[in-house]
Symmetry: C2
Subunit: 551 residues, 2 copies
Amino acid sequence: MTKKRVVIVGGVAGGATCAARLRRLDEDAEIVLLDRGQYVSFANCGLPYYVGNVIHEESKLLLATPTLFRERFNIEVRTRNEVTGMDRAARTITVHDLDREREYREHYDALVLSPGAAPISPRWPGSGLPGIFTLRTIPDSRQIRDWIESKNPRKAVIVGGGFIGLEMAENLAHRGIAVTIIELASQLMPPLDPEMAEYAREHLIAHGVRLCMGDGVAGFEQSSDGGLVVRTKSGAAFDADLVVLAIGVRPETKLARDAGLEIGARGGIRVDSQMRTCDPRIWAIGDAVEVKNLLTGQWELVPLAGPANRQGRVAADVICGRDSRFEGVLATAVCGFLGLTVALTGATEKALRSAGIRDYQSVYLHPNQHVSYYPGAHAIHLKLVFRASDGRVLGAQAVGESGVERRIDVIAAAIQMKATVFDLEESELCYAPQYGAAKDPVNLAGMVAANVLRGDVAIAPWQELEATDAYLVDVREPFEFRRDSVDGAVNIPLGQLRGKMSELPRDREIWVSCGIGQRSYYACRILTQHGFRARSLSGGYQTYRVMYPLE
Amino acid sequence: MTKKRVVIVGGVAGGATCAARLRRLDEDAEIVLLDRGQYVSFANCGLPYYVGNVIHEESKLLLATPTLFRERFNIEVRTRNEVTGMDRAARTITVHDLDREREYREHYDALVLSPGAAPISPRWPGSGLPGIFTLRTIPDSRQIRDWIESKNPRKAVIVGGGFIGLEMAENLAHRGIAVTIIELASQLMPPLDPEMAEYAREHLIAHGVRLCMGDGVAGFEQSSDGGLVVRTKSGAAFDADLVVLAIGVRPETKLARDAGLEIGARGGIRVDSQMRTCDPRIWAIGDAVEVKNLLTGQWELVPLAGPANRQGRVAADVICGRDSRFEGVLATAVCGFLGLTVALTGATEKALRSAGIRDYQSVYLHPNQHVSYYPGAHAIHLKLVFRASDGRVLGAQAVGESGVERRIDVIAAAIQMKATVFDLEESELCYAPQYGAAKDPVNLAGMVAANVLRGDVAIAPWQELEATDAYLVDVREPFEFRRDSVDGAVNIPLGQLRGKMSELPRDREIWVSCGIGQRSYYACRILTQHGFRARSLSGGYQTYRVMYPLE
């Protein structure tokens, strides 16, 4: 029996995981890992922090060296070897050895493509000027570090307000550089619903980051003092000593395309649930493939390390004859910057709508991460999306200074297990004063949603607030109401509501607001039991603020 | 139609929640909340932190006042009113108004008992001496604060090394007081398995807390200098300027017993899944009731705020005609002290064994809370217990400096949803370098367990280590091996294993250890594929250390 030869193209995240897993499952296989770069198995998620000098040493980013692969796993790693073509019929690939400048062929019994995704870098005028960078590899980040250390830039422009852009904003700020972010869309952090992304915008502004929203780059110019000028489509201009393009990534599919492998509508390699391409000898994993969103059923590009690793494992299993599956993603993600954490899992409203799904409802709440009487309590702004017909949890988004990733993780596990909002109500989570509350934010999210589904309270649609002819009541105390309130609301403190019912209309809907949506719920319970048609504005003023931001 | 009259006895946690929920469901009900203490709805979980002056103001502990209950919820609160008896046939209770020194009767349609649990306070010689305290109420904590502020104690003895004892240790240490803990059992934190509690012991010692384990209090004496001497059964004596008894709590069941309500074998009031006692007009909730452990099926006393709140909600629902249920507890709990977090959910090995359940397996792992290349990485010591026959997750215990409660919460949600270890492998959790890892500790726990169930690796039983005639191999690097190792192990670094197989016995089992159990797993994969009978010592030296502590 000849030994199985597995060749893996691309040695970061998924590729490296796949290789190591293959060896654990099969001592006999010949495993070759090829990468055109200088490093394999490096921590690409750590690159922004290396730029920011939060991580000081480059060596920390190297999770495994070729030597370790050889000694520990008996895996042959060839860096600076680029795969330039494949002959599927012959089961060979053409490899270009970049250092020796020679080409050779390599046979495979199984081929795993893990080429990743490349930063999008449009050909704007001047985009080749020195001081303009993208960030994908260790050499990329080293270049930015060198630029920072040699040029001592004071102003940076980041093009793109997605996760990487915001991580870069934190890291450049950490270097003492004033940051401007230019974002083409009207919101930051595209995976989020816009009102949830608004908390990120508020936070960035409060921390001195300048934002240029809804505007695109027109081009770059060298300024007279040797710096850069970034011109936008709207005609604005920003001085910059450093520009980072963080517009997103595009799957590396040239090799797959050239070989005639199927490419999906989103531009990623199409694979089945065993990570197999349309060629039964070829697997593809990681940022280059399309994955199915488990909530919307849509094919998506989800360039995240967690799924890439799982996919690498599944491919290795399948190559070794096991029946493993990768069914899809929840697309759980987290991003931290300047003391804020933003996380999400499952479907957003936006994603559901764009998938044509209408059977959902959403609620907002703003619980503290732990009991308010323990020092250091901060709000978590939480949006829960659930199926209206049966209460299945579909997704959650959360923003706050602490405890955010924990609640999103719990909800991610719940979604994975097909939990309903009724299950979230009953989740039994860690509580001590410094860790949470007897009713954890996750429980409260479940309760708020379950109250809606049980018919205990009706939710007023925020987006109809400006057009409604409902009677608006704010049930907070006068000192709160004076500070800020939903436009047009009448103030009746909750404690006076029972005594002031005669002042309320019976022929119109009453929409009730408060600070965070708790007292408005209590008020709705009182009002509906007394025969009024009342609805609660979910999340109260804290949601109003981001639904209708002042600027 | 006459209005329903609901009387609630005990106004903390469960009782207060029940009252507020009742009002939300029924505007018409007459709701009376009686408490013999001076306060209702106070934060009893916050009391240790008030003693420690982490919480400065007593007013912070008052979550809701009688005035708020009246104004917001139209609920009549009578503090300093003790219920002394009940006539179930007549549906009345006898109430003693402690301030007016009068007795009266109160009629009920539904009665909710929420009396809580009282600190156990054995009648040891001298236990009435000044400077010896228990902690249950705001006045209790105020007394300890006053003692600290007036006497300036330098040494304290805490009797009891459970959760409250350790929280008190942190808070007294925070006050600059040297703490000794006397614990009757051979382990701290009784709900944990002993080896997991060992991490807590190590941590306390490292932070200067003196421990007297496996010894009981014999009595207290006044010393010549006006302080206290705590004498133990073994003959030891400890000076103390302050003693806190934190031995545990006992359900307050006198009222229920006197009225002939059913009491369970653990000494708590017995209720059905609707929190109803054997009298269909009487409900009982909170620390005074027995609850069913969802994993072991055993009745237990679980004095935790989360379940108490849920029970209050269920009782209110049922009283208002809803079909809500409280099916039982996972007994998820967390405790923080001196920078360490200890948390658990579901069943421990100890609990399973004592319930006669043998169909389980457990694994240990020690992943960092986030990627090790990001600054501030710390190990989470994690034990996962799962059903051997089908992989159902049964419980988890974790100890570490950060990220502990998050992973236990995820596993708690997974257990609630009847997840298996195979589900944990695939959980899609938040990852960015400062938050976790592409393979989160929860994923790793699932993988380690699934590897066992799939037969990819066999686990060597730690408890048989001293008696086994297996050949012990440590696959770490020599510099690690020299530092510390499992007694009797031979060092063969993983990278050299393939070349040194001829040195290994084929007629004996080989038990492989390493630092944390990862390399030993790799080694077992190599060895078994080469025909050896190999087992991994789960968790490696980091587990050995607590399985066989030096002292």
